[in-house]
Subunit: 513 residues, 2 copies
């Protein structure tokens, strides 16, 4: 049952100062019944203090125990999946297939971190016994605040990659629930809370706080006992949290993934020869009603002769794709404002809007694009700006002018090799992931994934928020010099009780010392 | 020959606006003859622009070529070591033994990064061929600004760990020379420049800029093309650079190691039984005239009964140790100001100053220490504050009140095990390295070393500035999806041309695909 209350270190509390908000079903426009309470400053202080106390115990917990805890969370979510899937669809308007897919992705992510803990080498144990006995291992940084993302009610929210990677690292978590899917968030929080109870873990390990205003999130990031922040969302939101965190008397890391336009460069011979290109791009633009951070928001073409037929095709495709509404009326209003501004202010942009949905395409020449930097900003939603270049030089120019991006895609054939190499050298320093086939939407959750990129795509390009390497955001090295064996953390003890792979005097081994 | 000029991407330039400064020999107090020129804003812009252009070539250079470049730097420094050692001693007043030791440490550090490049697995190649073909490798972040450190004219300056790790990572470097040893810095810069010429590398790879004011350093950190900063020095200096970097329109990482008081906790039985403890601590406090970031600035004792004899002994030891002057009159003046403030403002601190040198010891009760937070701040120099606790609870209280530290040391015997465990749980979240024997001075350059710690010891506790892992400060993951083999960076190509260890579908191997 969804109560609308806040979970403060094990207790579902009613706020004394009942500031409440409600959710509207984006499909029916009907208001749902639950009144969600905004967390009070007392509640958030308590949540963080309890998290800090829990950290002292949980930071040195065994990997095995953490794996069992994640398994329990996974089971509780699975046991309550019908209820979760139902409210997910009501709150977000995302269709059943997507809901089920995202639930499975969330469960798979948890599985991945269970495997990581069972394998154990992520702790990067290094033992050096020549000279002073020096041993180094990764140690958790402390209580983490995780913000639910508007566009992923499950996989990037309450028990999403940020929360689960922090738990795996040994960090307590305080979730600031996203107000657009507060019910989904609460049900998942209940699952985590049940797992904590079953595992008899400290209740301070997890809190779940609601709020429609920015006050709760800001106060959490400013709290002195918070040691790190995970966020996926807009540049404006991410940058505000980042600035807040840097102004603290103790600055803390904020891992904000803030989206990007994910430029796609389509070379001459590719455009000539790929008959399904327009359809593929249109599907990618429209996927999830365009609400993905890897949505292709910028398509750069290099063929003055063949572009017309491509443009006709993609306009036709965009026109015909049926789309569910966006996850919230605010996001949809924001999207339409962007389009209107494009249409009225920029006479150099030819805007084509679908007759059947919100999907849209803009077309602009490279020279006009270069003169107007605002055209390279993200329009969150099912939209892409197509930039038409006269030649490769113009294309290189566009590439050089770009900001940091999550992804870039370079599509060409054998005949485009020279151009591909040139473009690659220009985009390489600016992106987290470069694709040479397909479309940037669809982010595989593997260890080889990099989801993050140079600023402003994310606030720290050295880390990823997707894939098992996401755990490194919450860990720091801690060295022990001449430490008695019994006092060492398990990964560093002589007998290698965890049986993990370690670097011992420069050689990788899973043997005891 | 030392010219006093600035090296701007291959050219030793005279400044048009001759702002100059001179160096005083701290031993003789005589002014040296060279006039060092402060870099102009034109020069620093040019240096950064050339570095940025060089990055496009050098970022994708082979590991082998980078190793050869480091080897050439090492040889040039070795070939000019007599001249370097001579000016080092004149400028810093540090004795010959220290000069030679630090030179050797600098050469050894270079050797370590040569080995790292030849071995190659630092690039962390991950290949995942199930699902989309996804391959990830570490890629350099861009031009780096390195600040020379006042207290290490060689090992933490021009060709020190910051510069060499950045070169190894694939990043060009602009060094802001420390004005206290500008001559030493210039000779080392000449060695690097010669190595670049011999290797026929782009001259923009390295620039060396002087300046006595903060203007040059601030302008470098603010320059849009600079992508990272390495600094070792005071909290004030490091924090100012950090804040500047966060206020840029594109924030960049600043790795500032800002020192700490490196608390030593000495438990009851240790104090009773270790006859050489006072002598060992006194030597550590006085080492390098106390000018080490790992200098033990805080000694916490837990024995009301035996402390008097220990205090007598350490005062006697401190009294007798002969000390060379500090590296600069400003540092020495600063040190004495701190001591005077302690003596006049805090009647609760018993200050004992050596009759023969600058060395000093303060003694204070735990209760007074706790009431006065300023007593836990670093006094840079040959000084330590001794905090006398009545019992273990007071000791724990002191530990809980501490800020982030580079190191903490816990000294006890078998009989102190319970107390050690308790203290360990309190200091673990606050430090980068924990010692259980000896003293914190002496930082072994091995992969297992962690030199860095939670804020305010450093600005990013997830990285180290000593040891081969220092390279990770200048690298970020870059993923390639469905990339043609010929376009992949060498570490990711099917044939594994570098023969490095890679993670292929979850298994570590150095085989080809």
């Amino acid at each position: 049952m969804i109560t609308g209350k806040n979970l403060v270190g094990g207790v579902w509390e009613s706020s004394a100062t009942e500031v409440v908000f409600k959710i509207v079903n984006p499909n029916t426009k009907e208001q749902l019944t639950t009144s969600f309470q905004e967390a009070t400053s007392d509640q958030l202080s308590q949540a963080v203090e309890k998290a800090s106390a829990a950290f002292e115990v949980y930071s040195t917990s065994s990997f095995q125990m953490r794996a069992q805890f994640l398994r329990a969370i996974q089971e509780e979510i699975r046991n309550n999946s019908n209820e979760i899937l139902a409210i997910y669809q009501v709150e977000s308007a995302l269709p059943e297939g997507r809901a089920k897919g995202e639930l499975q992705r969330t469960l798979d992510q948890i599985e991945r971190f269970i495997n990581l803990l069972n394998e154990g080498s992520f702790s990067q144990a290094i033992i050096h016994t020549q000279g002073p006995d020096l041993r180094k291992v990764l140690f958790p940084i402390g209580p983490i605040v995780v913000f639910g993302a508007s566009n992923f009610p499950l996989a990037f929210s309450t028990a999403g990659g940020d929360t689960i990677s922090a738990f795996a690292a040994g960090c307590p978590v305080v979730v600031k629930a996203h107000p657009y899917h507060a019910g989904t968030s609460e049900l998942v929080a209940q699952a985590i809370q049940t797992a904590i109870q079953k595992m008899k873990l400290p209740h301070g390990l997890f809190s779940h706080l609601g709020g429609e205003s920015h006050a709760v999130g800001s106060a959490l990031v400013a709290h002195p006992l918070v040691k790190g922040v995970g966020f996926t969302g807009s540049f404006k939101g991410g940058k505000a949290l980042y600035d807040l965190a840097q102004k603290r008397s103790e600055p803390i890391p904020v891992f904000a993934e803030m989206g990007s336009v994910n430029p796609m460069f389509i070379l001459e011979n590719k455009l000539k020869t790929d008959g399904t290109l327009a359809a593929d791009l249109a599907s990618s633009i429209a996927l999830g009603t365009g609400q993905f951070c890897t949505n292709p928001g910028l398509i750069v073409l290099c063929d003055p002769e063949n572009k017309s037929s491509f443009l006709d095709q993609i306009r036709k495709e965009i026109n015909e794709i049926p789309l569910p509404p966006m996850v919230h009326a605010n996001i949809e209003a924001n999207y339409h404002e962007h389009l209107t501004a494009l249409d009225t202010i920029n006479e150099d942009v030819q805007l084509h809007t679908s007759d059947n949905s919100h999907a849209a395409i803009g077309v602009v020449s490279a020279s006009h694009f270069k003169m107007n930097p605002s055209l390279s900003e993200e329009v969150f939603g099912p939209f892409s700006m197509i930039v038409c270049c006269q030649n490769l030089d113009e294309m290189i120019d566009v590439a050089e002018g770009l900001n940091g991006q999550l992804t870039a895609t370079i599509l060409g054939t054998e005949a485009d090799q020279k151009a591909i190499r040139l473009l690659l050298s220009k985009v390489q320093p600016k992106v987290g992931r470069i694709l040479f086939e397909g479309v940037p939407t669809g982010v595989a959750v593997t260890q080889a994934m990099q989801h993050g990129g140079p600023y402003p795509a994310s606030t720290d390009s050295r880390f990823t928020s997707v894939g098992s390497d996401a755990i490194y955001r919450w860990l720091r090295p801690l060295a022990f010099q001449d430490c008695p064996d019994a006092l060492l953390p398990l990964p560093l003890q002589n007998q290698n009780p965890l049986g993990i792979q370690r670097n011992v005097n420069g050689l990788l081994t899973n043997k005891a010392l």
